[in-house]
């Protein structure tokens, strides 16, 4: 308990501050400048296509955005997308981690293969899914469905959000697996052995030993994935363009529409600020959860 205090004193004071200053200043600028500009623009009437209409807009942009039904649809879609992908990748990742921890022939190769989707670029994987997997006439899934006598599904028009969830989950499941598998490897074999000798079955071992052991790793996975999933864009842009209607428009895509299709920088910035608020609300809950887990 005493050691950190002592070392804190040696680099403390003015010298410590001056040593930290460059890094901290850089990070602060890195964050403050874009954030400040977003805030500034969100209070401006600024449309690229309408020069001469610029000026202070007050809360007009926010009012316009909040009264737009599209915003609430997009928020709902964002949360649905994050929720489902998290559920699939965490549950699937845990089960797969347990599976890949077992000894079997060719385990090394199998591990590499199962992790590889994570290394495929989002746009590429979206294109592969769109044109080779989910295409209603020449996709693999259509062929599979037809070979068992079911009608082919036109994924992106009849189940748009589900399709996006599948694609994104396919990409992020390996990430969860990667983290959880490493966590599994630090699981004390003696403990498992002891439990087995006490007569615990595999199910009981999973729930009472493996899962508690993975708790920390799972909360890390949840937090990291959440940060990335809130801003999913490429998969939507490539496959559905946010449609049909607004069925797959999330907050990031809505901001893109406002900024680069409507060229309405003011409203887009207001959307950005709302996204920051949403991300922070989510993050506060998460940080608490993770912090609690780490304390235990």
């Amino acid at each position: 308990m005493n050691r950190p205090l002592a070392s804190g004193r040696t680099v403390g004071g003015l010298r410590g501050l001056s040593l930290q200053a460059p890094a901290v200043t850089l990070l602060l600028l890195w964050m403050i400048v874009p954030l400040g500009m977003t805030l500034w623009f969100s209070f401006q009437r600024y449309n690229l296509l309408m020069p001469g209409m610029d000026g202070f807009a007050g809360l007009e942009n926010y009012q316009y955005l909040v009264t737009d039904p599209a915003l609430w649809t997009a928020m709902g879609n964002t949360l649905l997308l994050v929720g489902w992908v998290l559920a699939i990748s965490v549950i699937g990742g845990t089960l797969l981690a347990v599976l890949f921890q077992q000894d079997f022939a060719g385990r090394g190769i199998a591990r590499v293969l199962v992790i590889s989707p994570f290394f495929v670029m989002p746009t590429v994987s979206a294109l592969v899914w769109k044109n080779m997997m989910m295409h209603p006439s020449n996709g693999v899934l259509a062929w599979l469905f037809e070979s068992v006598g079911l009608p082919a599904v036109d994924w992106f028009s009849s189940l748009p959000l589900t399709s996006i969830v599948i694609i994104v989950a396919w990409q992020w499941l390996p990430f969860a697996l990667l983290i959880l598998l490493t966590a599994m490897q630090s699981l004390d074999e003696d403990q498992v052995e002891a439990a087995r000798m006490d007569g615990a079955g595999p199910v009981a071992i999973f729930f009472f030993i493996t899962l508690p052991h993975l708790k920390r790793a799972i909360s890390v996975v949840v937090m990291i994935e959440m940060i990335f999933l809130l801003t999913i864009f490429a998969e939507i842009f490539v496959t559905t363009s946010g449609g049909p209607g607004l069925a797959t428009t999330n907050l990031a895509y809505l901001i893109y529409i406002r900024a680069l299709l409507d060229f309405d920088v003011g409203t887009a910035s207001a959307g950005g600020v709302i996204a920051i608020i949403l991300a922070n609300i989510v993050a506060i809950f998460l940080v608490r959860m993770v912090a609690k887990n780490l304390e235990d």
Binding site: L49, D68, F263
Partner: protein, 439 residues
């Protein structure tokens, strides 16, 4: 030793030589769309550079939507990244009004500006002055499969109606494996499904706005037209119609999966080319179908080359755009790439050319369609805007995109047509209020 001592001098001399060389050369950046005709233009870079040794070309070739975003952000912020931009009849008057484009009032004498088709020239003018030169122009028309029509004993009328199209589609749909009665654009976007839907609405007697700029998107004419479009595609269209744009339909039709297709005249060259299309022998042409009124039943669009006012290399850029839109260029493409591949719809002289008429039997149809498309009078009731398949105001990009999305949602059955159009109407009202057109 001597060599080493001379090294700095040699290096300096070389540097001077290089910089001197660079000064004589002007490099212009050309932003263009990845359409077939523009790719041909890019492939002819060497020919241009050989004829103009002091100019080199740097290309930025992108997909239409991405290109539009990059160009709009660049020109609106005065970025000056590009010296030549490829823009359409929608952008030219709007951008010219804002002073973003260089007026082209002093064209070289040998350019023969009076050879340009009048309707295309009007579309690219603002204040009676050309602000862009047409690279190619297109209208819309109907393609059909003569063999299938003959087999079924159907005769194509001189001016088909949409009602007839529905009947024919129902007769031909599914008569062969994977054959759709009709293919139409379903992919959302103001340049995609809205182009087709707009012409349908026009010919059903509807309009985007009344004379006071109040949106009329949930009017009876709109409901009828969109309901017809949705039913037609759901009953007799190809699977996954809501994600088919121009290129997807072109592929479907040239593989023989559509009995009829109403789309851009610029597809004719590719469909007629036996190397790219399996239906070139049985390809039939007809004017775009009509319903209540022939007004606005086929669109007018032209891709044109313009020089942004922010460019610092105006002269070189002008030299390039006059070359790429000249008679000489049309002939160059005809000789090197084949006459079906020449950029259509811009010059009278192209249509007077025997080689072209011989190689492209559709030429007359296309010329006729382009000539009698009138962007200033495209709706049954008077409207305050110009444009057949678009509305010539800056807000239309966002309005068109949003309405396109809701119509796609109606096409997939997520919402009914009435719901979709009501939603589109409300969104458009909001946009127009915000832009200050209406209270």
């Amino acid at each position: 030793m001597r060599f080493v001592r001379h090294l700095p001098v040699t290096a300096l001399a070389a540097a001077i030589a290089i910089s001197g060389h660079a000064q004589a050369q002007t490099e212009i950046t050309v932003a263009t769309v990845n359409n077939n005709d523009m790719v041909i233009m890019q492939s002819l870079t060497e020919v241009f550079e050989k004829a103009h040794p002091n100019i080199t070309l740097d290309w930025v070739v992108l997909e239409e939507n991405v290109l539009r975003q990059r160009m709009t952000t660049d020109i609106a912020t005065g970025g000056g990244q590009f010296d030549v931009m490829t823009i359409g009849t929608y952008e030219v008057p709007i951008w010219a009004e804002r002073g973003w484009l260089t007026p082209l009032d002093e064209l070289p004498d040998d350019y023969n500006v009076d050879d340009l088709l009048a309707s295309v020239r009007d579309g690219l003018s603002y204040d009676e002055t050309l602000h862009a030169l047409p690279f190619y122009a297109e209208s819309s028309m109907m393609y059909y499969r003569k063999d299938l029509f003959e087999e079924a004993g159907i005769e194509m009328s001189e001016q088909p109606t949409w009602e007839e199209v529905r009947e024919w589609a129902s007769e031909l749909h599914g008569t062969q494996d994977g054959l759709a009665g009709i293919c139409l654009r379903g992919k959302p976007g103001w340049g995609e499904n809205i182009a087709v839907v707009s012409t349908l609405v026009n010919t059903y007697g509807g309009r985007w706005f009344d004379e006071e700029w109040n949106p009329e998107i949930n009017s009876e004419a709109w409901v009828n037209a969109v309901q017809f479009y949705v039913d037609l595609l759901n009953d007799y269209g190809p699977p996954g119609a809501s994600s088919n744009g121009f290129n997807e339909n072109l592929a479907l039709f040239s593989r023989g999966n559509c009995a009829m297709w109403v789309d851009a005249t610029s597809a004719a060259g590719k469909l007629y080319d036996g190397n790219e299309s399996s239906v070139s022998d049985s390809l039939g042409f007809a004017p775009a179908p009509v319903a209540k009124t022939p007004k606005g039943s086929h669109w007018l669009w032209s891709w044109a080359l313009a020089i942004p006012a922010s460019s610092e290399k105006q002269e070189a850029a002008l030299e390039f755009i006059t070359w790429a839109t000249s008679e000489e260029y049309v002939e160059l493409v005809g000789d090197t790439e084949g006459w079906t591949n020449v950029p259509p719809g811009t010059r009278e002289s192209t249509y007077a050319n025997k080689q072209y008429i011989e190689a492209a039997p559709f030429a007359g149809f296309v010329l006729e369609a382009i000539k009698n498309a009138d962007p200033t009078d495209s709706t049954l009731e008077p409207s305050p805007y110009t444009g057949v398949q678009f509305v010539g105001i800056p807000e239309f990009q966002s309005i068109g995109t949003r309405v396109g999305q809701t119509i796609a949602a109606a096409l997939t059955g997520d919402t009914t047509v009435e719901q979709a159009l009501d939603r589109a109407q409300r969104a458009t009202e909001r946009t127009m209020q915000r832009a200050g057109y209406t209270d």
